[in-house]
């Protein structure tokens, strides 16, 4: 029920961090994985994906650039023959008080984290419709629900992703394409490193998490396999919070 043998997945932002953990998780469950990232292939990526034991390939493209993202799904289909799972994971963070927030950074974040999610979903759904179905899993954040602090572009993009998840779920449900999202809480990644290292904020955050700990990248693999597999065939349009209980407190 949770196996992905014979499936082809594309993970954007899969070169490192949570994206890499998710790409490797899909591969360990049997999927062929197309990993997308902006920078060149890294040794860590090669090591983790090779260890996962399924066929995989790296597709370099900067998804903030419309020209580069335009043909990405087609490149994957040309290489692996089909596309069953799309994980929209690419994202960046930029902190600056809203009053001074750099507008170039605003445009970049909205383009990469919202517009690209829509465009890739659109490309993928056209392929999935012909195949008779598919799974799209967007990566949200607690910022799908909360405002955050000095991260207005990130929050706007993630709220947008939550809305887009529901809108696309609604429109594509009858085509057997399920669109859901995962909203990770506080995870131990490079993106959260400044908070994790903050001696004031870190204990405050940890104390508020009912599970009493930060998430590890591996904690996202189970939820992703659930949403990417037949186990969730009647779950659609949901933003699945993986946060050790942060949101219920």
């Amino acid at each position: 029920m949770f196996e992905l043998n014979g499936k082809v997945a594309l993970v954007t932002g899969g070169r490192r961090g949570l994206g890499l953990a998710m790409a490797a998780g899909l591969a360990r469950a049997g999927a062929t994985v197309a990993v997308n990232g902006t920078a060149a292939e890294s040794a860590e990526l090669k090591k983790k994906m090779t260890a996962a034991g399924a066929p995989w390939a790296y597709f370099r493209a900067d998804l903030a650039d419309r020209d580069q993202r335009q043909g990405l799904v087609q490149r994957v289909v040309d290489r692996f023959g089909r596309l069953d799972i799309l994980v929209n994971g690419a994202g960046i963070q930029y902190r600056q008080p809203a009053m001074e927030f750099d507008l170039g950074k605003w445009d970049l974040i909205i383009s990469l984290m919202l517009t690209a999610v829509f465009e890739l979903s659109q490309q993928a759904a056209r392929v999935m419709e012909k195949q008779g179905g598919g799974k799209i899993v967007n990566i949200g954040s607690l910022s799908c629900f909360q405002g955050g602090w000095t991260v207005p572009a990130y929050t706007a993009a993630k709220h947008g992703v939550a809305g887009l998840t529901k809108a696309l779920a609604n429109e594509w449900a009858a085509k057997n394409i399920q669109v859901n999202a995962i909203a990770p809480g506080y995870f131990d990644t490079d993106m959260c490193a400044p908070i994790k290292a903050d001696p004031v904020r870190e204990p405050k955050i940890r104390d508020r998490i009912p599970a009493g700990r930060w998430g590890e990248p591996e904690d996202l693999v189970g939820p992703l396999l659930f949403l990417a597999s037949d186990a969730s065939n009647y779950v659609d349009g949901h933003i699945l919070v993986v946060d050790g209980g942060w949101m219920v407190r």
């Binding site: 449900a173 809480g185 396999l225 209980g245």
Partner: protein
């Protein structure tokens, strides 16, 4: 941990209430298929005969227990008996529930009380008793049964009292997630929409008008099948959901997220 182990329930003891039929039977069977031993509770032990047979067919130990979950003394005794028989309880799935579809102004008080006692008190007593065992074990996973009407949407279907119990279960789930989160116990709920079960057979699926509306209003254009609850429940009960607690997971063909309206050009 390898991927197979992530969802594997081998060596775990699962207690399922309302296990005699419908969603309870499907879920109890599914848990066994993923490796769990199953203690099946229903109003009478005899009700769970088919469920125990299915668990046995999956190669696992299954035992049936008769217990009215609305009665706290009965719950206390039955949970103690199950703990004695199996040695531990790792997973609690609270599915026992009843419904009544009567307009609110005509709803008899006795019906409101019985709905509340079975659905809400039943879930509370089970969490309380099994919670003690899980706290002593310093680990466990609870999955409660909320509903689409339990806080996501109002549907005006003449079962306000039922929906209120499901909202209470959602609140209980979140409270217990916080109370027990630091002690290795995860508490989550599923919120199904309309599933093809015996409970719903007479009240819903015989009503053609209602069914036509369901088909129109659910994005996936179909009702749920009991086995489609297995994936979500196994996921929440397993290590795969190790960082998830306090979640109310809709299993609803997209209903909670959306409001589909068919548009045709004039």
């Amino acid at each position: 941990m390898n991927i197979q182990q992530l969802f594997d329930l081998s060596g775990k003891v699962a207690l399922v209430t309302g296990a005699g039929r419908g969603l309870g039977r499907a879920v109890a069977t599914g848990l066994a298929e993923f490796g769990a031993e199953v203690a099946a509770i229903d109003l009478t032990a005899d009700n769970s005969r088919d469920t125990v047979a299915a668990v046995t067919a999956a190669g696992r130990t299954g035992r049936a227990y008769g217990c009215d979950v609305a009665n706290e003394d009965a719950v206390q005794q039955t949970v103690a008996q199950i703990a004695a028989d199996f040695g531990r309880i790792d997973i609690l799935i609270n599915i026992a529930g009843i419904t009544a579809r009567i307009p609110t102004t005509e709803m008899p008080p006795a019906t409101v009380r019985r709905l509340t006692e079975v659905n809400y008190y039943g879930t509370f007593w089970m969490c309380q008793e099994v919670g003690k065992i899980m706290l002593a074990q310093r680990g466990g996973a609870i999955v409660n049964m909320s509903a689409l009407g339990g806080g996501f949407v109002g549907t005006g279907r003449g079962n306000a009292a039922y929906s209120a119990t499901k909202g209470a279960i959602a609140s209980l789930t979140k409270e217990l997630a916080c109370e027990w989160g630091g002690q290795g116990i995860r508490v989550n709920a599923v919120a199904p929409c309309w599933f093809q079960t015996e409970m719903n057979a007479t009240s819903i699926f015989s009503n053609k008008n209602f069914m036509a509306q369901v088909i129109t209003k659910l994005p996936m254009k179909r009702i749920g099948q009991p086995r489609e609850l297995i994936g979500p429940v196994v996921f929440l009960a397993s290590e795969a959901a190790s960082m998830i607690t306090g979640l109310i997971l809709p299993v609803d063909g997209g209903a909670a997220a959306t409001c589909p309206i068919e548009w045709k050009p004039e």
